[in-house]
Amino acid sequence: MSIAEKQQQILEELSFLPGWQERYEYVIGLGRQLPAMSDKLKSSDKLIKGCQSQVWLDARAEDGHVRFSADSDSVITKGMIALFVRVLDGESPDAILSADLSFIDQTGLKEHLAPTRANALNLMATQMKQRALEIGAA
């Protein structure tokens, strides 16, 4: 499935969830399913410090593809990152760099987030592209 198709799939899943409660339960569920990063991996260079919650992001190369792992002390934040991981994990650096990640705006989730958290999401997308760029160049 392409990045665009994965994004489309997420939007469809969300379209079955009309209320805020179901949508948040969906995000919380994604956050729970995303494997926790080992404490060893959670080094400070992996830390993206938000205003209220902390996020760790790791990326490594595997057969020319990028494998992401991520974690957060907030399960909702973690669920939001899981959306990005699901879309970008295992793709090539080029595909990641050219991906349009504005699908997140269509989820309707961002409106419920504090500006700091919404910014954190943008930061997250930027960071994932940055790591893909480094891996592609290596």
Binding site: W20, Q52, S53
Partner: protein, 402 residues
């Protein structure tokens, strides 16, 4: 219950709105309070009737605006029971007031500034900057597990090296009420100047600066039902008269030549430039408003609400309340295994506005080994029903999160 909040809620139009389809329950009053119509009307009337720049004007509007601004100063002085209105200096807020004091003090290496573990960043960072500039050192009054200050440690820290002692009257994070009179007396006995941060005290307790016997007391208008952008520094005349000016500009001078300027008397010495005239007038209206209801009645009502909230919340599994039982204004809690940010996000969806995070008290959070808490804070317009909504919302969020 002391008074009926349903009678005053119509004074606050903002409270009538729905958030995400649910009635707004505003419990973030320690961050900022909502404004009654009496305050909004006072601002507007100022602009529709008498707005002009003050002090130096000969014309009718300038006279009216000057008189209203100085009457506002008198009103604040009366509220604080200050010896004279000239001891009331208008600033842009509590943070500005504290920075003013930190900027005009001259310390030398070996001098000490004493602050408490409960302080807001605004009552820490200006002193750190002063210490950095002067070579003085910053000492910290530790606190007990229940969020009260260790008074024995405080007394042990006081010495003839202590130049300034700064502490909050009420903690914005935990609602702890410090024994400010005793602390002022102890600090002054050691020869220290004392600054009391009344940012959280001003909407909840009666303040009498003469009885308190501090040297400086600060607060922000926006936490006592007045607009943003206005604050107060009350300072003892004998202390302020001996200190240098801070900001330079119009109004604070007596005479300017390019060679040398001489400075005006209190309070103008510390009020450079065009002040927030509207803000001062609206602050006076806010003080009139709370006195019209009765500060004691308001405090009793808020105490009733905060106890009800504490009782209801402490029944929830794994919930920890911070601060002592006799907290005022703010109630902070944490829930094992649940991030405060997630809790706050979910109850916001249910219309309940609380604050989550470090509340600008990172050192205090570090002391208690947490990155933040969830804080509900109360004002005169809150109701029992709102407290019950808060508790139900937290319960529902916990079901979703666990």
């Amino acid at each position: 219950m002391a008074f009926d909040p349903s009678k005053v809620r119509s004074d606050f139009p903002i409270l009538a709105q729905a958030v995400n389809g649910k009635p707004l329950v505003y419990l973030d009053n320690a961050a900022t309070t909502q404004k009654p119509l009496a305050v909004l009307d006072a601002s507007r009337r100022y602009y529709e009737e008498i707005n002009a720049n003050i002090h130096r004007g000969t014309h009718h509007l300038a006279r009216a605006a000057t008189a209203a601004h100085e009457a506002a100063r008198d009103r604040v002085a009366r509220h604080l029971n200050a010896s004279e209105s000239a001891e009331v200096i208008f600033t842009s807020g509590a943070t500005d007031s504290i920075n003013l004091v930190a900027a005009i003090l001259t310390l030398v290496p070996g001098d000490e500034v004493l602050v408490s573990a409960l302080e807001h960043h605004s009552n820490i960072v200006p002193w750190q900057m002063l210490c950095e500039r002067s070579g003085a050192s910053l000492k910290v009054i530790p606190c007990h597990e229940d969020g009260t200050l260790d008074q024995d440690a405080f007394r042990a820290l006081l010495s003839e090296r202590t130049r300034l002692t700064a502490f909050t009257w009420i903690s914005n994070a935990f609602g702890t009420v410090n024994p400010v009179r005793e602390m002022c007396a102890a600090a002054k006995a050691a020869g220290s100047l004392v600054l009391v941060d009344a940012a959280q005290a001003i909407p909840h307790v009666r303040i009498d600066v003469r009885e308190l016997d501090a040297d400086f007391l600060v607060f922000s208008g926006h936490k006592v039902y007045a607009p943003t952008g206005i604050g107060v520094l009350w300072g003892r005349r004998s202390v302020l008269d001996a200190l240098p000016p801070w900001r330079g500009g119009g109004e604070m001078i007596k005479e300017v030549t390019f060679e040398r300027s001489t400075y005006n008397v209190l309070p103008f010495k510390y009020e450079a430039g065009t002040p927030n005239i509207e803000g001062a007038i609206a602050l006076a209206a806010a003080l009139d408003y709370i006195e019209g209801i009765g500060l004691e009645a308001i405090a009793a009502h808020e105490q009733h609400l905060i106890r009800r909230a504490a009782e209801g919340l402490s029944a929830l599994t794994d919930l920890r309340l911070f601060g002592p039982d006799d907290r005022v204004g703010a109630l902070s809690f944490g829930i094992h295994g649940v991030h405060h940010y997630d809790l706050g996000t979910l109850i916001d969806q249910m219309g309940v506005a609380v604050r989550t995070g470090h509340h600008c008290c990172q050192p205090l959070m570090a002391r208690f080994g947490v990155t933040g808490t969830t804080r509900a804070s109360f004002a005169l317009y809150n109701t029992e029903a709102e407290v019950d909504t808060l508790i139900a919302a937290v319960e529902k969020a916990l079901v979703m999160l666990r």
